[in-house]
């Protein structure tokens, strides 16, 4: 790890100003991605601004939904009574997302910004990585891929966005609140991320110095059922090969509202409006679920190592929908 200067911010304005004035500076929250990548030599900020003491913790609710301050930990959000009672999709995505130790450290804002787990991105001795060095190529496309994306990708980059929580949140139309030097703005999470197909090195719409201060999670209709299913190589403590965050409102056997997020397969947390369109106003049956799953993977771009994910993502989505609708296979 290269030397850096450590600074601790005690107010949001102070943190934003420190960053905005210094292009070599980065924020430090839970550290679970930042310090890991600094140890690997992928990131080398000259200054870390520790934001963990900022007054950005806690969860409140009102008519618009649940407001989660950015430094709330994954463990705290998973334990929130409203999340436990009304948002199983969020709770499950959090509990399946990391070990308890990591959930006690990782913040909600940081979770949204976690970097790719692509082993070529994380190994600076590999010269080809458009995410690290724009224009250098993509080693994952040229060599062995497996834990990689099939949606929103191209020969330029096939890194997957590894967050489970963000998959649930794009499905729920969550909104991210940002503070920068020029003021505040709010961005729907579905418009927050860029796709690796066109923008491997710039992953989101943040400008340097902008800080995530919180998110708003709108509530689902009271009748909705929801859940998050994660398929992986180990039973626990592993990144997704494929995952699905889903919610349905079903009346008399007909689906009136559907939300579909897919993980482990997209270069960004993937919202499938195509699948939702198939599901909406259709009977809640296995056949409908399969048709929706087929629509979700239209446009998949694969390399030999990721071709299996086209089928796996569909099966994962079908099973997730089955689980929350009670439809037998």
């Amino acid at each position: 790890m290269l030397p850096f200067e450590y600074a601790r911010a005690s107010a949001v304005d102070e943190a934003v100003n420190l960053l905005a004035a210094d292009t070599g500076a980065s924020y430090l929250a839970g550290g679970t991605t930042q310090l890991d990548l600094m140890k690997d030599g992928v990131l080398a900020p000259e200054r870390l601004v520790d934001i963990t003491r900022l007054p950005l913790r806690g969860i409140t609710r009102d008519g618009d939904g649940l407001h989660v301050a950015a430094l709330t930990t994954m463990e705290e959000l998973a334990a929130d009574p409203t999340v436990v009672e009304h948002l199983p999709i969020v709770r499950q995505s959090l509990l399946l997302g990391a070990s308890t130790q990591l959930r006690n450290m990782a913040t909600i804002g940081g979770n949204l910004l976690q970097r790719a787990r692509c082993r070529y991105f994380r190994d600076p001795t590999v010269p080809e990585c458009n995410k690290r060095e724009p224009g250098s190529g993509c080693a994952a496309v040229a060599h062995t891929a497996r834990m990689h994306a099939i949606l929103g990708v191209s020969e330029r980059c096939i890194a997957v966005h590894a967050s489970d929580l963000a998959v649930a949140l794009v499905a729920l139309d969550a909104v991210v609140h940002l503070q920068g030097r020029s003021g505040l703005r709010s961005v729907p999470l579905t418009q927050f991320y860029r796709e690796a197909a066109t923008s491997p090195d710039v992953e989101n719409v943040l400008v340097h110095g902008e800080l995530i201060t919180g998110i708003t999670i709108p509530f689902l209709p009271a009748m909705a059922t929801s859940g998050y299913l994660k398929v992986r190589d180990r039973a626990s403590y592993e990144f997704a090969l494929a995952s699905a965050g889903v919610a349905l409102v079903t009346q008399d056997g007909t689906i009136s509202q559907a939300r579909v997020g897919l993980g482990g397969v997209g270069s960004k947390p993937w919202r499938s409006l195509e699948a939702e369109q198939v599901l909406t106003d259709a009977p809640a049956t296995e056949e409908t679920f399969r048709e929706a799953a087929a629509a979700a993977v239209q446009g998949a771009w694969t390399v030999p190592g990721t071709a299996f994910k086209v089928e796996l993502a569909q099966r994962t989505l079908v099973r997730a929908l089955r689980n929350i609708s009670g439809v037998a296979s």
Binding site: P3, L28, L35, L102
Partner: protein, 174 residues
């Protein structure tokens, strides 16, 4: 060039980060390079080598300690971030009356082979009980999945934790 010069400047001032920590009830005042993790501060600067460095990148759980009562990975925590916080390590578990019940249970159930992951396993298990997640074998497996044991002593680790949990677990908390 400007970048190289500023790096040099940071390197020269590298021991300038003051850190005050309470570890196992004892106060430490240190001046550290900003890069020093809580793990390295414990092992190399406070003489507390019980916490182990396994992967040093947040994947194995060997470095698990408690910060303000919550289990965290000390390898991905900067010491400077813990300024003013309460840290508990494996060295802080035993009392003058003897080992912690979970330490005794690990010995009784042979919950290790080489022993390298054991301090992390036990610190995780103590937190697990406080979180109320030791109610079944499946819960122990799921909520201790961040602690890897390459010897494969998992079955005995689960037995050791469940034994203390089913005995009431009250004596197991800190």
């Amino acid at each position: 060039m400007a970048k190289a010069l500023s790096r040099q400047r940071y390197a020269q001032g590298a021991r300038d980060t003051p850190v005050a920590l309470s570890v196992n009830g004892r106060q430490y005042k240190l001046h550290l390079d900003a890069r020093v993790t809580l793990l390295d501060a414990l092992r190399d600067h406070m003489g507390l080598p019980g916490t182990k460095k396994g992967c040093d990148q947040g994947a194995c759980g060997a470095c698990t300690v408690h910060v303000n009562g919550r289990r965290v990975l000390s390898c991905l925590t900067l010491a400077a971030q813990c300024d003013g916080q309460e840290v508990t390590t494996i060295e802080g578990l035993a009392t003058p009356d003897g080992p912690h019940p979970l330490q005794e249970s690990f010995v009784r159930h042979d919950g290790f082979q080489c022993g390298f992951c054991t301090p992390g396993q036990i610190m995780s298990a103590v937190a697990l009980m406080a979180e109320g997640r030791a109610g079944s074998d499946d819960d122990v497996r799921e909520f201790m999945s961040g602690n890897l044991c390459r010897c494969g002593a998992y079955a005995n680790i689960v037995a050791a934790v469940r034994d203390v949990a089913s005995a009431g677990g009250a004596d197991a908390s800190l």
